[in-house]
Symmetry: C2
Subunit: 165 residues, 2 copies
Amino acid sequence: MTRRTIKALPITAERFAPFGDVIVAGQVPMTTMNEARFQQFANLANVDIDPAGAVSIGIVRSKSPTSFPYHFDMVERHPLGSQAFIPLTEFVFVVVVARPAEFVRVEDLHAFVTNGKQGVNYHRGTWHMPLIAMAEGQEFLVVDRSPAQDNCEELILERPAVLEL
Amino acid sequence: MTRRTIKALPITAERFAPFGDVIVAGQVPMTTMNEARFQQFANLANVDIDPAGAVSIGIVRSKSPTSFPYHFDMVERHPLGSQAFIPLTEFVFVVVVARPAEFVRVEDLHAFVTNGKQGVNYHRGTWHMPLIAMAEGQEFLVVDRSPAQDNCEELILERPAVLEL
């Protein structure tokens, strides 16, 4: 069986636009609030939850760090809502995504690495590798759809993928 | 004019319950996800946005730190949606809140200080002091209602309040 290697590129708003949003201060027109005591960067992500669901704020904490190269053979998507992951301390993480389609090949996958300050918001329906972290104890804030039931499709890749930093 | 001093108490889910949610890992039943590579703490906040609005994810960054004792004479509330503030690095912050009511006196105010890892979610309608930060450059993730127009009521206190740590 042929393996396919995916090399992660630095994430930018432009590169990630087909798949979702990059959540970071400084990329949108800035305003001020509270008598100019704060700079405000608003509407950084398109939170898109089906009306039958609610928006959930949760936290996930890494128990077992991932080492690279990382082998995986499954991607998932959430048909009922967008899903945002924002680091709660400064750390780098890696995402793998594919455009919405019924079927995904390894060749359709794109990998991106953050700079430590960035979060991501997967658009509703974007295929993605399940979340991984590079160190134990790292926490992400998660903004997605509640309940999670009936909102996750999994697809097993024909060929396993190998993710490299 | 008589000033009134408010002393901040350490925030806990129980103390803050009349006003909103404390957003932190570890306070709710924990599950695991992604083949147990992550601990998951779900539904940490009641995101409550009126159906005519959308959920916004934004970031605010402190430009000018606040020193204590801190004098203020205004509180605000958002009738159309809840509003969450989550620190994007580990830092302590202070909030002042009052229960929903048409009128607020200084005596109705409660102040809470976080432990560095906690965020807060003000319930829709909870009166609160506009956000302050204790150091320049601190960033909060904000999850609230978009657009912000017609969603902020301000109330000038009869007597200024003095907030102490």
